[in-house]
């Protein structure tokens, strides 16, 4: 299938606020994108099946009340469970950005692709603050989303709850498992590519093991804290006045990877 024939669902709910630029990014990468309100899915007016890929954009779904992403996630998990599960099992790509990452964790889809009880959490940043800053990301496990990235890429984060927490007492074991399964595609690092080791602000949230993104073992579902749509063009970079405004940025490569993968398997 050609990229242009792909139809990507950018799912929004009340409080989603990065849907427009995310849809733009998809279109500029060459695919079709449609922003659809979750209520349309819940009421059966639209269906996941119509689409080749799903993106859960950033924002504050339902005001991030209770916990970031929790309300939207629980609605999806309880009312669209089957559709969502089969979408994932068909191998269609699902990308959660920031709030979307939180949603994917709260649905249980991350880390192992099963809708159900969450096995991870995204907790309040260690600084107890909202953190809006650019970070460096070290590419780890290969996923369709990240394979086109350079070893060290740059994107901005903007969140209050971005600290990945693993189940107490089982952190090391689960971490090893995630690593073995190639499930940690991005980690916070220094400009030179050395792991952040929790150091602030390289790792802006205090995320466990510097985890910035998590994917399923199959690799078609990924959640990431940084915002690729805000690093899509070079002119969006915080230092383009030093290094030039021309060309695409690292964020573009995330969308490109996702879409080429979707096109390739159809």
């Amino acid at each position: 299938m050609r990229l242009a024939e792909l139809r990507v669902l950018v799912l929004r709910s009340q409080g989603t606020n990065c849907d427009a630029e995310t849809a733009h990014s998809i279109r500029e990468t060459g695919a079709g994108a449609e922003v659809v309100h979750v209520n349309k899915l819940l009421r059966g007016r639209r269906s996941l099946e119509e689409f080749h890929a799903l993106v859960l954009p950033g924002g504050f779904s339902y005001g991030d009340r209770i916990r970031s992403g929790a309300v939207l996630a629980k609605l999806l998990a309880s009312r669209l469970r089957r559709e969502l599960q089969s979408f994932v099992e068909e191998g269609k790509p699902v990308l959660g950005i920031c709030n979307g990452f939180q949603v994917l964790i709260e649905t249980g889809l991350l880390p192992f692709g099963e809708v159900g009880e969450p096995m991870l959490a995204l907790a309040k940043n260690a600084s107890a603050r909202f953190e809006a800053r650019w970070v460096h990301l070290l590419r780890g496990a290969a996923t369709p989303f990240t394979e086109k990235l350079p070893r060290v890429s740059r994107m901005p984060v903007a969140n209050a709850e971005g600290r990945v927490v693993l189940p107490l007492g089982r952190e090391q074991r689960l971490l090893e498992e995630l690593e073995e399964n190639n499930q940690i595609p991005l980690r916070y690092c220094s400009p030179q590519g050395a792991l952040a080791h929790g150091e602030y602000p390289l790792n802006p949230s205090g995320s466990f093991a510097d985890i910035a993104a998590i994917a399923t073992p199959e690799g078609n579902v990924m959640g990431m804290m940084p915002h690729p749509e805000r690093a899509f063009h070079r002119y969006m970079y915080p230092d383009w006045t030093r290094n030039g405004a021309q060309g695409k940025g690292d964020g573009y490569r995330i969308f490109q990877g996702m879409l080429e993968y979707a096109a390739g398997r159809l």
């Binding site: 409080g15 950033g58 005001g63 903007a158 969006m236 006045t241 405004a245 021309q246």
Partner: protein, 774 residues
């Protein structure tokens, strides 16, 4: 019914007081005469309507009244100063000025940019989180109220010193640290949640803000001119959309038009609100859809005065009347009285006017976004405001009297220069002084605050508030690229100089304008439009008003000379607390066009071995400077502005930027040359060598004065040596000089062969970053 016709003057005053109407005796008498003519008594709903519609907050009595000042009769300060600039310039690119909730200027094709800045001072003093948050929410609604899509926020905040002793705080005055913390949290929370980036602002600290913190909130939006509907007619439906109406915010405008006295918390406790950004985000989506489908005939926000102001003003605007049924208004809880419903200022509500044939589709759009939308009445041909509650008429007012019956206020204004002296003191080690200046709270890095605000959501922020090699240098203005398929951008900047006002408000205003403009020019902005926001003490005190008049006069003189029209603004008077009047503060916000955002210039030095130019003339103008303040002085030599010379500088610099000759540019403001240079160095990770004797001065000056004078209209510019000839040719008619070169890791300043200062730029940065911790 309220017995008014037979009331004595004392009784009139007592009624106004007891009902918190904030109407003065003359106004009460005008109302009394009206009812004597009608031959009946007013209802409480009617009285409240007058109180709202005639409040300082809603009609700007002072700015529209008659002021006598130094033998001169000023017939409408707004009209004869601020708005007059725009009238005399009347640029064809001004789409809508002073008439709407926000000023609107052309951008590109069918697109225009709306900009509005508001203040939310009193609420923020009392409930800083909620006050600041609803300040953001309110100004965003101003932009929605011109069918605009909000794209960016600004915030300028003024607090007392963060180390202010607790013992000195009067009862009911919250500590500056408490206010600072929660105001910042409130701004961030609302802006981040609703998904509008906060891209520009400033923070000032001064003793005068202890009792009167100031919170200025601005919003920019994109307007489609062809979809800007203002065509309501009788028969059109009044549609109330958004959150439910509660008792909150009752008497907010009368509150804003009164001084903050002890016990204000109890009296005005209901004026406090927290806000719900998600509700507003939903409203925004629905309104933009209604706009796209062109289903509405008018729109306005519900701000001060709630329904009573919004309905009345809209009907008045379209030359008709309105009929409203208050029992249709969805309430948060039962038991509200009709007048409470009528004037409630519950947040997150808007008023749409919709032709009946479009109503069904509009309701469907709102339902789709999970927003309540309720028809509450309609416009009627008769020029009357009729309000019903459960079938009973609770108010019937003549539109004409309501909108033109307000007796014009007459006020006295007086100003005499304060008795001040120019200080005499010895120069100390300039390296140390520079470190201390950089750490002064007004100058120090605000990064901790800025990073709690999302400044990039929407992916339009091309030049960010923080710039440079480590993304942490202090930018002069933000540049946004509002359209995905166009390189045209806008530059947003601000200027404010509260310290200068303590010497002369005229030069304070002139300097604020100059600063806002030069910040904008520095990044590549042009065709600049201005907004003014006055925060002053009680204007009934002639000394307060005198300063205000002087500032307004400067706005006229300077903005006209610069060719920069005002497009909107606002005044907040009565900023008084048990500690006295606020430090008079004029914020100027500037909106410029950037032809191609790829040519925008950041302030960080880019490379070693480049030339450093200083544009503009340095004068012994240290009155109100941070250098004086550091040494404990105020002084008298407040910076002036010479518009014709400055304009030449601005224009030449713009040409140089367009030709790509400018590698970095920073304006000189607080802390003057020394601070600006240090900022450019540590932001770029590049040192500099500066020869002070090369600086163009107006007269012989001490080295420390050259280094720290705050003369206006100056820039530092980095230019590559191979472009020096072309750059200098462009500057032919400008006072300028090459003052140094970029170099290694140090900032070195010499004067006539003697080294005055040699500092490591990393150390300078550390001093600057230590200044203000959240």
């Amino acid at each position: 019914m309220v017995p008014l016709r037979e009331a004595s003057d004392e009784e009139l005053a007592e009624i106004s007081e007891r009902r918190q109407l904030a109407l003065n005796l003359e106004e009460m008498r005008a109302i009394q005469r009206y009812y004597r003519r009608l031959g009946r008594e007013p209802t409480d709903v009617e009285l409240e309507t007058f109180a709202q519609t005639w409040s300082e907050h809603c009609v700007h009595k002072t700015f529209k009244g008659v002021i006598s000042y130094e033998g001169e009769e000023i017939d409408g300060l707004l009209r004869s100063t601020i708005a007059r600039v725009t009238r005399e310039l009347s640029p064809e690119w001004c789409f809508s000025v002073f008439e709407d909730n926000a000023g609107i200027v052309d951008f590109e094709g069918d697109y225009a940019i709306a900009f509005k800045v508001e203040t939310h001072n009193h609420p923020s003093a009392i409930e800083p989180f909620g006050g600041a948050a609803t300040g953001v929410g309110g100004v965003i609604r101003d932009v929605l109220g011109v069918w605009g899509e909000p794209i960016a926020n600004t915030d300028v905040l003024c607090f007392g010193p963060l180390d202010y002793p607790y013992e000195k705080l009067p009862r009911d005055v919250k500590h500056p640290r408490f206010i600072f913390t929660y105001v910042v949290a409130g701004i961030g929370s609302y802006g981040n949640n609703i998904g509008v980036p906060t891209v520009n602002g400033a923070i000032y600290f001064d003793e005068g803000y202890v009792g009167n913190p100031l919170v200025y909130c601005g919003t920019l939006g994109i307007v489609k001119k062809s979809k800007y509907k203002r065509s309501a007619r009788p028969g059109d439906v009044l549609l109330l959309v958004g959150g439910r109406t509660g008792r909150d915010g009752i008497h907010g405008v009368t509150f804003a038009s009164s001084e903050l006295e002890e016990g204000a918390e109890e009296t005005f406790g209901t004026a406090v609100q927290i806000g719900d950004p998600i509700e507003e985000e939903k409203i925004k989506r629905a309104i933009l859809q209604v706009r796209e489908e062109e289903l509405g005939s008018a729109i306005t926000d519900l701000g001060g005065g709630g329904l009573s102001s919004a309905v009345g003003e809209q009907a008045h605007r379209f030359g008709c009347g309105a009929r409203v049924h208050l029992e249709r208004v969805p309430l948060k809880y039962a038991g509200m009285k009709p007048w409470e419903i009528w004037i409630s200022e519950s947040q997150e509500r808007m008023l749409l006017i919709v032709p009946p044939s479009n109503l069904e589709r509009v309701l469907e759009i709102f339902a789709g976004e999970e927003v309540e939308a309720t028809p509450i009445g309609e416009l009627i041909p008769e020029p009357r405001l009729e309000v019903y509650y459960r079938g009973e008429k609770v108010a019937e007012l003549d539109m004409d009297f309501l909108f033109s019956g307000l007796p014009r206020v007459k006020r006295e204004a007086r100003w005499s220069p304060p008795e001040l002296e120019e200080p005499e003191f010895e120069m100390r080690d300039l390296g140390e002084e520079l470190h201390r200046l950089l750490a002064m709270p007004n100058i120090a890095s605000k990064e901790e605050v800025i990073r709690t605000y999302d400044h990039e959501v929407k992916a339009m922020t091309v030049l960010k508030p923080l710039q440079g090699v480590a993304w942490d240098g202090p930018g002069d203005a933000a540049v946004l690229k509002p359209l995905r398929n166009s390189w045209r951008g806008i530059a947003v900047s601000c200027g404010m100089n509260p310290l200068y006002g303590k010497i002369d408000p005229y030069w304070m205003a002139a300097s604020a304008i100059d600063e806002a403009i030069r910040n904008n020019i520095a990044v590549g902005g042009r065709r600049i439009a201005l907004l003014d926001n006055f925060c002053w003490g009680n204007p009934e005190k002639p000394e307060n008003l005198g300063g205000l008049v002087r500032a307004a006069k400067a706005c006229y003189d300077i903005a006209l000379a610069y060719g920069t029209p005002f497009i909107s603004g606002k005044d907040s008077l009565y900023n008084e607390s048990p500690l006295g009047a606020v430090t008079p503060s004029l914020l100027i916000s500037a909106l410029g066009i950037v032809e191609d955002v790829r040519r925008a210039v950041s302030m960080d030095f880019k490379e070693r071995g480049n030339y450093i130019y200083l544009l503009g003339e340095t004068k012994p103008e240290l009155g109100g400077s941070h250098y004086y303040k550091l040494r404990g002085f105020l002084g008298t030599s407040v910076p002036g502005v010479e518009p014709s010379r400055a304009r030449r500088t601005f224009e030449a610099l713009t040409r140089a930027i367009d030709l790509g000759l400018v590698k970095a540019c920073h304006d000189l403001s607080e802390g003057g040359l020394g601070v600006a240079l240090a900022e450019m160095c540590f932001s770029g990770g590049v040192g500099a060598e500066l020869c002070l004797e090369a600086v163009p001065v107006s007269q012989e000056m001490r080295a420390d004065f050259i280094l720290f004078s705050e003369s206006n209209s100056r820039f530092l510019v980095e230019v590559e040596p191979e472009n020096a000839g072309q750059f200098e040719a462009l500057m032919k008619h400008v006072r300028f000089a090459r003052v140094g070169e970029t170099s290694g890791g140090e900032l070195v300043v010499s004067y006539r062969g003697e080294e005055l200062l040699r500092e490591d730029i990393g150390e300078l940065k550390r001093s600057w970053q230590r200044g203000v911790a959240l």
